[in-house]
């Protein structure tokens, strides 16, 4: 069964034996290779199965798994480098700058298109976008495949306070300038 006449997969043996001898050689090789294969399967049959009952058990992932992204939003500077690096153009972001503080509106990743290539992760100057170990992305419609990576939207109280402080400082500076004039 293993190697047969005219089999493209088996390389031609250099000294071509007569066809009658080849018949016996083929027969012998077929029987022997089948027996070898069967013995391998038999040995595997008595080994512990390597299958994992997935929903109940899960595989241990090594640290480099490229799963669903997560964003460290407080580090992000809205530089758009990740979106530009993305070959399938699946990252969309929008924010308003208030001085140094950012008012986040949108940071979505479209997993209909994303191929989990990690090209968005490398160029990030702040090292704030990562791929995690979550991989089960099961939804019933396509809209749910567009994931929002933001942990908060708009401005936090802290940011508002900082903005207020910078504005107050700015106002104070302006006032001093006016005084100086």
């Amino acid at each position: 069964m293993g190697s047969m006449e005219g089999d493209a997969l088996t390389p031609a043996r250099p000294p071509k034996p007569s066809s009658f001898r080849r018949w016996w050689v083929n027969l012998y090789e077929g029987v022997v290779s089948t027996a070898q294969g069967m013995s391998i399967t038999l040995r595997t049959f008595f080994k512990k199965p390597v299958t994992v009952q997935y929903p109940e058990q899960e595989l241990e992932l090594d640290g480099r798994y490229r799963g669903i992204h997560f964003l460290e939003q407080d580090l992000c500077i809205y530089c758009d480098v990740c979106a530009k690096a993305c070959p399938v153009d699946c990252i969309e972001m929008d924010a308003t700058r208030h001085g140094k503080e950012l008012e986040w509106h949108v940071f979505t990743l479209d997993y209909n298109r994303c191929m989990l290539c990690e090209l968005c992760v490398y160029p990030c100057p702040k090292d704030c976008i990562h791929q995690g170990e979550e991989y089960a992305l099961v939804t019933e419609n396509r809209e749910d495949m567009v994931l929002d990576l933001l942990t908060w939207k708009g401005l936090t109280d802290e940011q508002k306070q900082k903005i207020a402080e910078t504005e107050a400082a700015k106002a104070a500076r302006d006032a001093e300038k006016e005084k100086g004039e």
């Binding site: 069964m1 047969m4 006449e5 005219g6 294969g37 069967m38 391998i40 038999l42 049959f45």
Partner: protein
């Protein structure tokens, strides 16, 4: 029932219930008569094979004079069922599968029947019951493979197993339903219970051919230690049936084991193997067996 209980025992049950309750689809382009008739023909002929199997002393539906000959004839009817299914589905993949099935079954029926000739010559009977009874010697170990003709018996046994794999459309000869090329071959269009019939037929035919191999080569219900039982013991039918089923199921397992191991052959390889290798081998074995039996019968 997702993981099917202890070692998945209830998976088969769940599958059966699933197939029973699934929608029965008749494709709009299909031929209604042939499409409906094919599973019945296939299943009916697979079940008719069981009529002549000798399970244990006194447990056999019919002991025909023609036992194995009848079984071969009935087995060849499944080929017609396969062609009927392939044509009736009105689907090109089904038709390809059916054509392959027909070519393959017609080719392998010859080595299959020829490889049965050594045991038939040895026991001098078509009857499976008679052949089994003749193997009861040596305390239940007088099987054909252990007889003085073992050097014919063992090759013909493997030949029979190989040819029956092809005859039952099992891997590595499952070209009629090779899913990577033909979706599911001749039963692509079938669903629900009609599909289940094709599925069951395959396993029923596997069991039937394994049972034939058991009865002719592996001593049927005879098992070592049988002579310790009293004559006419009530235990004998039960233990005999157990021995028969164990041997036959072992051969079924071997067929499944082959499926784990060998990749599917190409159709030209299947034909080459059948015509250029198995048929001459079977003919040679037939001549060897005839010579041996004639030598033995000489005064």
């Amino acid at each position: 029932m997702r993981t099917g209980g202890w070692h998945g025992w209830s998976q088969t049950l769940a599958d059966a219930i699933k197939l029973l309750t699934k929608e029965d689809i008749l494709p709009s382009g299909a031929d209604p008569v042939l499409f409906r008739l094919a599973p019945a023909l296939v299943m009916g002929s697979a079940l008719a094979m069981f009529a002549v199997l000798p399970f244990a002393p006194g447990i056999q539906f019919a002991d025909l004079d023609l036992g194995i000959y009848f079984l071969l004839a009935i087995a060849s009817l499944t080929t017609i069922g396969v062609i009927m299914a392939g044509w009736g589905s009105n689907n090109k993949w089904s038709l390809y599968g059916a054509m392959r099935g027909a070519a393959q079954a017609a080719s392998y029926e010859i080595p299959l029947a020829l490889s049965l000739i050594p045991p038939i010559l040895h026991f001098g009977t078509f009857s499976l019951l008679n052949a089994t009874e003749q193997q009861s010697g040596w305390g239940g170990m007088g099987w054909y493979v252990f007889s003085d003709a073992f050097w014919v018996a063992i090759p013909s046994f493997f030949l029979f197993l190989t040819a029956s794999l092809a005859e039952n459309r099992r891997a590595p000869f499952d070209l009629p339903e090779s899913e990577s090329e033909l979706v599911a071959g001749f039963h692509t269009e079938y669903s629900g219970l009609r599909f289940a019939f094709f599925f069951l037929e395959e396993y029923a035919a596997m069991f039937a051919t394994s049972a034939v191999a058991t009865a002719y080569w592996l001593g049927g219900w005879n098992f070592p230690g049988m002579t310790l039982l009293a004559e006419g013991s009530a235990w004998l039918p039960w233990l005999g049936a157990l021995a028969f089923l164990l041997k036959a199921m072992f051969l079924v397992c071997v067929m499944i084991w082959v499926r784990w191991t060998l990749p599917r052959l190409r159709i030209d390889q299947v034909m080459t193997l059948g015509w250029k290798y198995l048929t001459p081998l079977a003919l040679g074995l037939m001549v060897a067996a005839a010579g041996w039996e004639a030598w033995r019968a000489m005064p």
